[in-house]
Point group: D2
Chain length 344, copies 4
């Protein structure tokens, strides 16, 4: 089986897996008081050039996003997001539950990207009837987006400015943050707080960890509320070292960037190869580790016959599929896929 | 450091750690569709002699307990629990959040154990004023209890009968279920569904896993609601194999029972040794892997000086402490503690 | 001041006001056990030709809608509604709070009316990713709509059929139900349960009461859950006779229909008169007691100068306003408005 | 029937009933922008000698209490209350729902009164385990209490001081505030904010209105959050004049105090008369408009035969009943009750 359905079909990268094994013995304080969790926060402070940021590990992206939003938005507020965002499309009713009932308002925009215009308009609408509406209090954007596209830093800055003007805090869903950093060649700081981002879901799961995300607040005042939100959602781990080890190994010696660079390179190879196959249509630019293509029926049948798994993506029309690469995708497997498609 | 503060200061037992390493490569379907998650359910069905049970892995005990209760109790119901129970004392406002606002009513009872009388009385009170009160819809009991004591099967049966008469479903918090099974020598089935238990938080974290509990429903009708509750709380793992591997390794070849047997034996040794030290008072019978003692100041000082960490337990009075053993507690360390105390 | 901003700027119709005065003395059981509340339910059963319906008075439309939806939809479900519906546009975060976090998905459609196509598509989308999405469990439609338009019975039937096929219950927001009944000349039964509607917010406030709506379930099985939902939202009135009196006086001798007939007639007169004024544009057909027009600046200025209050309605474009008539709108005041506009 | 079961079996006092009738015609802005609502706030500012207080009418006591608490306490906090308090005993799961899941911790204390000791102890317990517990953030006390007893001002002051020291805000449930003011002869200011009370549920329903309570915050900073909480619970009335009229008529010319004085006097007469009847035992001092007595079976039978309705109060033991007087209780009816009892 060559499974390209998602980057979450992969396991755990060797550096993280090995670190977990090595640190599995001995005792250490629990509930976030272990040394690895502290190390992780210290490393993130350095990485983001922000000595007062606070970082809290959680286990899933849904928890990271929704608990961050619960911290930034009162339960009577509106959260603006893209209609295609994970928080709107794939987190079921988690936003409603974990924020205490805040209103998620999905906006449209090409390539899964929010536009300043739609944000301004939605904020004005949300704020136009006093208590009869839920005022816009938070904006969430995904970098890289769920369609594998990227916001350029100036776009993020413009969205943050618009958010600020309308009284919104800004959250960034960085489930594929590493892939975005590598693709844009921009420092973590220059893609987040320097542009006005207040909180980041710093994803590690899709890029080599088992189950680890860090919620980062660039203003430490958010720490207290977040910690209570995390606890009451059942996301404070007793053996917190398990999270700390994953994240510290992930950050050490550039593992996280190497993993992302590899995944991005594999996607580029896949994208380049497939688009040369007659009848294959590239539906979106391949900017990170995701390839969205329309496949002719013959190609699709050939891939299935060869045991290649892709994800149907009906939102992009009939025949559209998503293929995702990961830290462990092998070049020879990509070559096999291309060859299979080319000879279909 | 000899850390006896809790069984969550331990890491991960070698069988689980090794299994995680070995299964860290290759691709597999995500979100619960991996083979290890399926294997785990199959193993639990056999272990509990109940071919139609459903089992769902989650990452923390708080999640296991509160999501199970959310499934058993409507948001307008009352949940009866012991005042000393984890769900009442250590899960903050998680029960309120995850059940949608159900009312947790704590009851008293010696040794952290519920009595049939207090359950009947509380159920009658809860049900006595129509919609002005929240009718009792669920009962949760902890086996073994938070004070390291055990319900005998007939006590559980009586509580389940009382619950049933008053229209309550029964949940068992089994954070230390393995220790209870070993201590009582009773089969899993004979301690749960055969007595009337509807749902069990089957804990693995404290007994050798990193972060893994299985929520078991003995009636498969609860599956649908639980799966939505789990997802909306952010507890559905993408790389679900991480949970499946832990649990399948934990269940294989009796690892879970060996771990518990060892922890229980270490606690017995510790308890026996300490109670022979003049001035040390055993506050509760040592039935599983927890020892509750009152230490004279001199003994306490000597332990601190020797780097022994214990947990102050003020609920049991001044000088009271809890000491917990785990799968990896070493007999020589227990001997050191006893010797240190004896010569204080 | 001639206030046409809404039908809630009116007071209370004389029949209701007088009944309240007369029944203000003496004692009666509280919390819904008074005779007027029982009478109201009996009258509604007769009126709707449904002897087993259950009816519960509440005080506001927001409570009626959201508590009905909380009863019909699990907290993990999706509720489909029109983007212009009151529940989406004017009830802030009440749906999220009172349903326990269900997801409100707004649909578009001309004249504030849902279409079968958009309902089917949204239901398919909501149901397309298992637990990662919130399955569509309820549909809410407003009759008459927030833009003063009407669903014809066959349209309601088609929507109910589509809802049923996709596993949704159907709620009707009848804040202006009386106006719709009078406008269409259709019996209450033929506009609701005979077409497949499960629950109705039967509004009285806008049509002559002070603060009274009845939530009607055509299937009595919904009674238990609703009563708990109502209580926990603080909407169970102690002196429930206050609600019962309003509703029984409202229903007696056709008061509710006379009030609606009058309001509708006044709106028709206003609409006819205004559309003859050069430059005034009728934006929607005037089917009930609401008139949506675009006013030239001169006309608008003249109305303001004459003390006529209208509600700006920017959703319909620049210059758009809403004018609403009520049970107590006077024909001479309508004539004054028309004359003022005509001579502007 | 002579119904002494509660003060909510009464109707509406003539001043309020008449004012409602008179103000039922004409148009006025809705949603709190009517003149009566403004007048009410102005009157309360004068009455409480606090020009910057903010006051918001709601319809029920449950709404008043729970929405006030939602404003004072974060969803992850603990609210301390008396076990016999209305919020704990008679508001079902409303506190959990409307606060977003805060934890209600009931305390014991004679005569339904909190003690400083139990408050301090509970606050310490709640705050003793970091995020694993819910820190005490609000204290609610009822004046007069649910057992008809009174806190003396110095007791309130002590409770407020203890609350402040532990980081709690203080809410007073004043469902029978008027009765307390008359009984103690203390000014409203001297019973609330001058002692440290932050928010008051100022009840009018039990003392002569149909359905009207004012939630008063002595610090206007609470206004914004409360208004959103009120709206999202469905408690913002469209025809808000209905609430404003009730409250302004209630406050005008001392109606509220006269009503309470009368009810208190009738209870004193009833209490004095009954306690002279052989075998009747007064269970609590009669301080306001509630009488708690144990009745011999013969007396009880005689009262039932005479059509006198009382409320069984099993919490005070077998044979215990509550009898409540109201603004409209007639002295001759009280005399009848006493005579009936005396000749039993």
């Amino acid at each position: 089986m060559l499974n390209f359905a998602s980057d979450n079909v992969a396991g755990c990268c060797p550096e993280v897996a090995q670190a977990l094994l090595e640190a599995s013995t001995g005792t250490t304080p629990s509930y976030g008081n272990d040394e690895w969790t502290r190390t992780t926060e210290a490393e993130l402070r350095e990485l983001f050039e922000k000595p007062d940021l606070v970082a809290f590990p959680v286990l899933t992206g849904t928890a990271a996003n929704c608990l961050a939003l619960a911290t930034l938005c009162p339960p009577w507020g509106t959260i603006l997001c893209h209609a295609d965002s994970h928080v709107n499309s794939d987190e079921a009713t988690a936003p409603g539950l974990l924020t205490g009932g805040a209103k998620l308002v999905p906006l449209t925009g090409a390539d899964a990207k929010l536009t300043v215009e739609s944000v301004r308009e939605a904020a004005a609408t949300a704020g136009s009837r006093g208590v009869h509406r839920a005022p816009a209090k938070a904006l969430t954007l995904t970098q890289a987006t769920e369609l594998g596209t990227l916001y350029h830093p100036e776009e993020i800055e413009d969205l943050c400015s618009a958010a600020r003007e309308h009284g919104m805090a800004v959250h960034m869903d960085g489930a594929r943050f590493a892939n975005a950093v590598m693709a844009l060649g921009v420092s973590p700081a220059d893609m987040t707080w320097r542009l006005g981002v207040d909180a980041l879901s710093f994803g590690a799961t899709k890029n080599g960890a088992w189950a680890a995300e860090a919620v980062i607040f660039f203003n430490p005042d958010h720490a207290e509320a977040f910690q209570y939100h995390r606890k009451r959602a059942g996301h404070l781990l007793s053996k917190s070292r398990f999270l700390g080890i994953q994240l510290s190994a992930y950050l050490q010696d550039g593992v996280w960037l190497r993993n992302a660079a590899h995944a991005n390179a594999m996607a580029a190879m896949l994208s380049d190869g497939l688009t040369e196959v007659p009848g294959v249509e590239l539906l979106l630019p391949t900017e990170i580790n995701e390839v969205f293509v329309r496949l002719p029926d013959t190609v699709r049948a050939a891939l299935i016959a060869a045991g290649v798994i892709v994800a149907p993506w009906p939102d992009l029309g009939p025949g559209a599929v998503r293929m995702v690469t990961a830290f462990d995708t092998r070049a020879e497997d990509v070559a096999t896929v291309i060859a299979t498609a080319a000879t279909a």
